[in-house]
């Protein structure tokens, strides 16, 4: 952890030493992600509800998944580029330093400008928040969902990037699950077939990032009939995923250390 922040801080300092470029990239990031929500908003100029959800309700789903996803995206740094690091030999250099390789990979090229994209998620959430009848329990579930969501997305990033130890060109494959997963979660699950929702609960548990917790915030029950306690199960899903990720990562590194390529 200490090493993570030491390396990350260095990258932050380096980025801030070019302030013009830093702020342009940051604002650019905000604009692009902003357009992302505008497209949903435009859709609502023709319809009043989508999958039984109003625009603000979708804004809530969108906000929670975006905040979690963008924070995770900022924290994983160069993990997505494992294949490239293997080819360039940078991974070997990392292995000769007294800091865990995963920590070095995550902190490498830490991009503070992603705060802009996180900010966009926060803005959409803030706009949607008034529809929730806030009380301490709901606030608690929200915090739990976002923290678990960051962990869940972080694990998905790491797990699918680890595949690059087996095939070095698999970064696009990983993107389908990370960026693709986030895009799917921006919509209410009611627009998808039951099988998709099941997969997103039991195989790739992204529904625990925002779907189940948001149902609780909105005081609704799951239209697919999932158990009520699922609405509070986000930390459990995160924990299981951490276990799986640790295993996969270890296997990947072990494979690298016995093939050297």
């Amino acid at each position: 952890m200490r090493a993570y922040w030491l390396i990350a801080l260095l990258w932050i300092r380096a980025a801030l030493s070019y302030p013009v470029s830093f702020w342009t990239m940051m604002v650019g990031g905000v604009l692009i992600t902003f357009l992302d929500f505008v497209s949903i908003w435009l859709m609502f100029t023709h319809i009043d509800s989508y999958g039984g959800f109003s625009l603000r309700e979708i804004g809530l789903l969108y906000g929670v998944t975006s905040i979690a996803f963008r924070i995770a995206d900022m924290l994983v740094g160069s993990v997505e580029k494992i294949g490239q690091k293997v080819r360039s030999g940078d991974l070997d250099a990392m292995m000769t330093k007294p800091v865990p390789v995963l920590v070095q990979l995550c902190a490498d090229r830490f991009e503070l400008r992603r705060l802009g994209q996180i900010g966009q998620g926060v803005a959409v959430f803030a706009w949607a928040a008034p529809i929730v009848d806030w009380n301490p329990q709901r606030l608690g579930v929200l915090v739990m969902a976002i923290v678990s969501g960051v962990v869940i997305y972080f694990c998905v990033f790491v797990t699918f990037s680890t595949i690059q130890f087996w095939t070095t060109d698999a970064s696009e494959f990983a993107n389908a699950f990370t960026y693709g997963g986030n895009t799917i979660m921006q919509y209410p699950m009611t627009i998808f077939p039951r099988e998709v929702v099941r997969s997103l609960t039991y195989l790739l548990p992204l529904t625990f990032v925002n779907w189940y917790p948001c149902l609780f915030l909105l005081g609704e029950t799951d239209p697919f009939g999932a158990p009520g306690w699922f609405r509070f199960a986000s930390p459990l899903a995160a924990l299981v995923l951490v276990g799986i990720t640790a295993l996969v990562w270890r296997q990947g590194l072990r494979r690298y250390r016995s093939t050297g390529s």
């Binding site: 260095l10 070997d92 000769t96 007294p98 016995s258």
Partner: protein
């Protein structure tokens, strides 16, 4: 106990090949097999061999990056593959063709980060930085981002970085590759001083035999994954069936010189070349020639080390 102990060290790789549309065959390649050697503290060892001989594989096993498939390795009393991060604090590694510095950051920031990562005491850090920066002539470059440095400057930066935490062993993989003559000379001088003053053990892989001649007391030659020679540089010349050459300038042209223990390999007017085993002395030969012929001049040529090594690879 030696600082580095390698016993029957082996590493096999399984290479899968496509054999037809769906069928795949796998071939087991032995990159390193039954390698055994010991290196004592304070030695400077050249580790040489042709491309693909297993040099990098060995270094990767000694730094803990690769797990051996057989045999054992002990470095500074630790098993590298199991105690990789612990070992990292006691060794320095420089890969010649890539940098372990942070590409976009000035050297100074990279050094500062390493100080914190390795938790180097302030005093040690300041002393090492002063010493190495002065000796490697890096003073004016500390605030330049690494990507703007020339190859030679970057290499010097990399070496200074690898030495900040006072490693007992420094592994150098092709340290002078791509450097000009002046940079090479400076670097060699620095490494020699490091070994003399701090007793840092050096193990370097190289294709440049100049590095070996300038630096190494001992050479390990590896070919096809196994050591074919291990000993001091002078005996590398005498071993391997190499020969020295006595060049004789006679006063007049003559028939080939007939003396015991040498044979004429070339005649050019009054000049004749006599080859004799590298292990034997030139003195009796010289006196025989001087006694039997009118000699204008004599000179002795040592075998070319590259030829000697080429012989070793071939055999």
């Amino acid at each position: 106990m030696s600082l580095i102990e390698v016993k029957d060290l082996s590493r096999e790789f399984t290479i899968r090949k496509r054999a037809g549309l769906l069928r795949r065959t796998s071939v087991v390649k032995r990159a390193v097999h039954d390698l055994t050697f010991e290196i004592d503290a304070g030695e400077m060892v050249g580790y040489i061999g042709p491309n693909g001989a297993g040099k990098s594989t060995t270094i990767k096993m000694l730094t803990g990056i690769l797990v051996p498939s057989g045999g054992s390795a002990q470095v500074a009393g630790l098993e590298p593959s199991r105690r990789r991060r612990e070992l990292a604090r006691r060794i320095g590694v420089v890969f010649g063709q890539r940098t372990s510095l942070w590409w976009d950051l000035p050297l100074r920031d990279s050094f500062e980060l390493l100080r914190r990562i390795y938790r180097i005491p302030d005093k040690t850090f300041r002393r090492n930085l002063e010493d190495h920066v002065a000796m490697l002539d890096l003073g004016d470059l500390l605030d330049t981002p690494v990507r703007q440095l020339s190859l030679g400057q970057r290499m010097r930066g990399d070496i200074a970085a690898a030495l900040l935490h006072d490693p007992e062993i420094l592994y150098l993989d092709e340290p002078t590759i791509g450097l000009d003559v002046v940079s090479k000379g400076r670097l060699r001088e620095f490494l020699r001083a490091l070994n003399h003053e701090r007793r840092t053990t050096l193990m370097l892989t190289t294709h440049d035999l100049g590095d070996i001649e300038a630096l190494c007391d001992r050479v390990i030659v590896i070919d096809d994954g196994t050591a074919v020679f291990d000993g001091p540089l002078p005996s590398l010349r005498t071993g391997g069936g190499a020969s020295r050459t006595l060049v004789v300038d006679l006063v007049d042209e003559a028939a080939p010189i007939a003396v015991e223990g040498a044979e004429v390999v070339k005649v050019e007017g009054p000049r004749q070349w006599l080859a004799f085993p590298a292990g034997s002395s030139a003195a009796p030969l010289v006196s025989q020639v001087a006694a039997g012929y009118d000699v204008a001049d004599l000179s002795i040529h040592e075998p070319d080390i590259e030829d000697v090594i080429r012989n070793l690879y071939g055999g």
